[in-house]
């Protein structure tokens, strides 16, 4: 306590304090006055307005879910659409006893344990005055049976809701993707994007593929209806209505017929195929085999089907074109050849005399060619045609790994292609830097040698391989690869074409591209590694075969397909574009454990090109006498490969 000697000061202070108290009191009074004025405004002046809203019983705002946009192929074939189904919905706050109601309803309409669980989960997520689906896909009979008994169940109603359907089933499942029920993490990302109120009433959202990538366009804008409802919650009259704006339709570059032919061409094989129009980046076919039926996912996949799909050794759920990574094998050689020519490391008429192996200076280790005894005199064009390993071993060494990797990266290796589907992985373009960061190990010269023939660490996706082929066909200009060519407004029917743009460009000397292309054209001619693919073709095909090793073999050990477990057999690869003089289609095919590229993957590419260029299904290829199919060049390093 302060001493009381400053009595005067004390009184002075108390005076000030009281003055401030008075000030506060006046301020409080004014605030209360403002509140009173506000209530006078709401309850006297605006009474009639609010009275009408609340009076004839309670206004309710009902979201109207927009129709999701359709997905059509380039010829207008329907790939994804919506159809109506009856659902049984419950508004929890309007039922008297929820548990009992559900049990009673269950006597009329079958309600499984799964339905109950889902209902419980959905109910916890929404307001108690919103209706929640209890059963979906009611049959006509069930709907009718319930309708007759409806009066017994206040708060339970039959509604018709739109469901997504993919009429072609598993065709192109990996590019289409699918929609599924909105879950917690979807809610969070919607909230983060400030888009949550547009999903009031929506149950579904794009989960993968185009359905995910173009979710924003496909969903549309939710409308609202202000309805008057009576005490039982039934709509009496619509007060005002903001109609929903339906989602935009997607028009794809895919030709569903071509897609079908491509998928069927795989037969029982697993693998991937991507076909691109090199001049504009349109993706014409996008295959991942085996496929699955996306319709299973629309209403939440059941545990049994999920287990089958997820546990299958064939991994049908993996999007192989974008997420499957494979050693490029010999399909890498045209790009290595381009690197050698552009860097001036190989200038025609340079040639080598191939003894059937390559050895590093001062080493006795032999990097074998696939052809024992060698190919004789080989120049760069012939090296591509006959897939001469020895030539490319030496070329890679002379280029050096840094120059090689940096040049081929311009073809898109080691980078995402930027296609309009999420989840693409960039593959791997190995360099000494990468190896040091990843494994804390130094780079061996032998690893450069085998990179020259597409073995070693280097990994590519089928999408990258197709894009690189298209880029080569297009003389070094990369067009943005895309599946959607235009977006069509549902209401007006106005289409907005997606921009066609080049995304990268390498300045290549015309004489160099010509040389590599000539080598690739020879591949499908008699004497080339894929002569059978070119046989009987009315147009000229430029191609390159490849074989990628799945397991390593020891020096002196021989590869014999018959002795190897099926899943350890080599992957067959094939890249091609046609017509060679004026490329309209570029294709990359990978057949897992298919063996040799020319004999297994090549015919698949041929079928696709035939249909696209000639509009017909290819005749079975006429057998042509060719040299024995080259097995994969054994990838042997000083150290065993890490895989």
């Amino acid at each position: 306590m302060p001493p009381r000697t400053e009595f005067k000061n004390y009184q002075h202070e108390q005076y000030h304090f009281r003055w401030r108290l008075g000030f506060a009191a006046v301020l409080a009074l004014i605030c209360f006055g403002v509140l009173a004025a506000r209530f006078a405004y709401l309850q006297v002046l605006r009474y009639d307005y609010y009275q009408t809203i609340a009076e004839s019983n309670r206004i309710s705002l009902v979201p109207i879910v927009p129709n999701r946009g359709l997905i059509l192929d380039r010829n207008g074939v329907l790939l994804a659409h919506n159809f109506f189904v009856y659902t049984l919905e419950v508004t929890p706050s309007k039922t008297n006893n929820l548990e009992q109601t559900i049990n009673e309803v269950g006597k009329l309409v079958e309600i499984t344990e799964l339905d109950r669980k889902r209902f419980k989960k959905l109910r916890e997520q929404g307001h108690s005055f919103e209706s929640v689906p209890l059963r979906t896909h009611l049959t006509e009979v069930e709907a009718a049976r319930f309708a007759v008994n409806r009066y017994r169940f206040p708060g339970v109603e039959i509604k018709s809701r739109l469901f997504r359907h993919y009429p072609l089933g598993s065709l192109g499942a990996h590019l289409m993707g699918y929609i599924g029920r909105i879950n917690d993490s979807d809610m969070k990302s919607l909230e983060a994007a400030d888009d949550l109120s547009n999903y009031k009433g929506s149950d579904h959202i794009g989960k993968s593929g185009l359905e995910e990538y173009y979710e924003h366009n496909l969903h549309g804008i939710t409308g609202f209806q202000q309805v008057e409802i009576d005490a039982d919650g039934h709509a009496v009259r619509v007060l005002s209505s903001t109609p929903p704006v339906p989602g935009d339709n997607l028009i794809l570059s895919i030709d569903s017929k071509l897609q079908d032919i491509a998928e069927k061409a795989f037969g029982e094989y697993r693998g991937a195929l991507v076909a691109i129009n090199p001049t504009n980046g349109e993706v014409l076919a996008f295959v991942s085999q085996p496929s699955y039926d996306p319709n299973l996912f629309v209403d939440g996949i059941d545990a049994e089907n999920w287990k089958i799909l997820n546990d299958s050794l064939d991994k049908p759920l993996i999007n192989r074109p974008l997420r499957g990574i494979y050693p490029p094998g010999s399909t890498f050689k045209p790009f290595v050849a381009m690197a050698g020519l552009e860097a001036g490391v190989r200038t025609p008429p340079f040639s080598i005399s191939d003894p059937g192996y390559y050895a590093l200076p001062g080493s006795t280790h032999h990097y074998r060619d696939w052809k024992p005894g060698g190919h004789g005199q080989v120049d760069i064009r012939r090296a591509i045609t006959i897939s001469c390993d020895t030539f490319f071993y030496g070329l890679a060494m002379d280029l050096g790994i840094e120059r090689l990797a940096s040049f081929v990266s311009h073809f898109g290796f080691g980078k995402k292609s930027g296609i309009d589907i999420h989840g693409e992985i960039p593959g791997l373009l190995a360099t000494p830097d990468w190896k040091w960061k990843r494994w804390k190990q130094k780079w061996y010269a032998g690893e450069t040698v085998i990179t020259g023939i597409g073995q070693g660490y280097t990994l590519v996706t089928p999408m990258q391989l197709a894009q690189a082929t298209a880029m080569l066909a297009n003389n070094g200009v990369a067009m943005r690869p895309h599946l959607v060519t235009s977006i069509q407004e549902s209401g007006s029917g106005v289409s907005r074409p997606m921009p066609i743009s080049s995304v990268d460009h390498i300045a290549l000397k015309p004489e160099n591209t010509t040389l590599v292309k000539l080598g690739m054209m020879d591949v499908t001619r008699p004497g080339g590694t894929a002569a059978s693919v070119g046989a009987g073709s009315s147009y000229l095909i430029a191609a390159k075969t490849g074989t990628a090793q799945v397991v390593g073999f020891k020096q002196n050990e021989k590869y014999n397909a018959k002795n190897v477990d099926e899943r350890h057999r080599d992957h067959a690869l094939f890249i091609a574009y046609a017509p060679a003089e004026d490329p309209k289609i570029a294709v990359a095919v990978i057949v897992e454990n298919g063996g040799h590229g020319g004999s297994v993957a090549g015919p698949i590419a041929r079928k696709v090109m035939d249909y696209y260029l000639l509009g017909k299904v290819a005749l079975p290829p006429i057998p042509v006498v060719t040299p024995a199919p080259p097995p994969a060049a054994p990838a042997i390093t000083e150290e065993p490969l890490n895989d």
Binding site: E13, R20, L21, A25, L35, Y49, Q51, K200, F224
Partner: protein, 364 residues
């Protein structure tokens, strides 16, 4: 004999204030019965809360203010430690970290700070009274800012605003220069656009929705729209107890807690609201009288702060329900359902009564 005992037990209670509090609480019980869908359980448990709160009030009223002055510092430090504990180890519920588990039970340290902060500041300015300088206000502002910042981080914007204003009131009554205040207010106004650009999107949205709730009628604007419909349709006389359609048909969200005033306004109309405002006004007026009659600086500052904080409480809640203030989670004192905030509130009133009834003892 019994009469004598009662007189002695009530000797430290302020009868006028007690009467007003009880009347308001009684109204609250009736509104709660209606808002909860005529649930006796809810009314019963609120009754238990009220009894507990009155027990706390009685104890506080019987503690002489000198003792309060002595425990101000330790109480503040304890509160601060607990708040830091919450930040580090607090339990998360409904997306906010407010509770601290102490083995025996859970505590909500921000509630403790609602009393501890004004007590500490009153203690500080009472000590510095003879030689107040500008620096003291800076120290006071710092003592206030630390706990407020911790609570904002939880996040509990409602409580933070109340504690900040309780501390501000102490500073104001301690004589903070009016010119300085005016200056701060003007700078604040000028800085508002800058602040706007630093705000989170969701915070901006709350403010935008205050001006146009129909921007997001099913999301953030839902509460405000439904409350306006309830209030407006109540009219002058109201729809009558238990007859509010908005409230009874589940349209009003959080209608037993933060939005209970809308239920009251719908069922009792403008007349009921004015009556309630008068009751709140009388309680505030009594508090201000107690403050003006208090006999030392500590008591004056504390009483003034408690009273005006109560006013802020009322104003923020009713302002929010009527749509003139943004929606922050502040319940309506004495009416909303809930025990914790009621106990803290009544503790404050207990301190007010103690200040009023211990006067003679202090002067003698």
């Amino acid at each position: 004999m019994i009469r004598d005992l009662l007189t002695r037990a009530g000797s430290h209670l302020d009868h006028f204030l007690m009467g007003m509090l009880m009347f308001t609480l009684l109204i609250g019980l009736f509104v709660l019965y209606s808002a909860s869908g005529q649930s006796f359980d809810k009314v019963g448990s609120q009754l238990v809360n009220i009894l507990a709160a009155f027990a706390v009030l009685w104890v506080a009223a019987n503690i002489p203010p000198q003792h309060l002055e002595r425990i101000a510092v330790p109480l503040y430090i304890l509160g601060l430690i607990l708040l830091i504990g919450v930040t580090l180890f607090g339990e998360v519920s409904h997306g906010a970290r407010r509770w601290l588990s102490l083995g025996v039970g859970r505590v909500q340290p921000s509630e403790l700070m609602r009393i501890a902060v004004p007590m500490l500041l009153a203690w500080y300015f009472a000590r510095r009274e003879a030689s107040l300088r500008l620096l003291d206000y800076a120290v006071g502002a710092l003592l206030l800012a630390v706990p407020v910042a911790l609570i904002v981080k939880q996040p509990d914007l409602g409580t933070a605003i109340l504690i900040a204003s309780s501390g501000f009131f102490v500073l104001f009554f301690a004589g903070l220069s009016v010119r300085l205040l005016l200056g701060i207010a003007l700078t604040g106004g000028a800085l508002a656009p800058v602040l706007w650009s630093f705000m989170h999107d969701y915070q901006r949205k709350r403010i935008e929705i205050l001006f146009d709730p129909y921007q997001d009628p099913l999301g953030a604007g839902y509460h405000t729209i439904q409350a306006s419909i309830a209030l407006g349709s109540g009219g002058i006389a109201g729809k009558g107890w238990l007859h509010g359609t908005q409230a009874q048909l589940d349209f009003l969200p959080e209608r037993t807690t933060d939005f209970i005033f809308a239920v009251f306004g719908e069922e009792f109309g403008l007349l009921g609201i004015l009556l309630l405002l008068v009751l709140f006004g009388l309680i505030i007026a009594r508090g201000l009288v107690i403050a003006s009659e208090a006999q030392n600086t500590f008591c004056r500052l504390l009483a003034g702060s408690i009273t005006l904080t109560f006013f802020t409480y009322v104003f923020v809640n009713i302002g929010m329900v009527s749509g003139i203030l943004p929606v922050v989670g502040v319940p309506l004192p004495l009416i909303s359902y809930g025990g914790t905030s009621l106990v803290t509130l009544m503790l404050g009133f207990g301190i007010l009564m103690s200040i009023q009834t211990h006067k003679k003892l202090m002067t003698s």
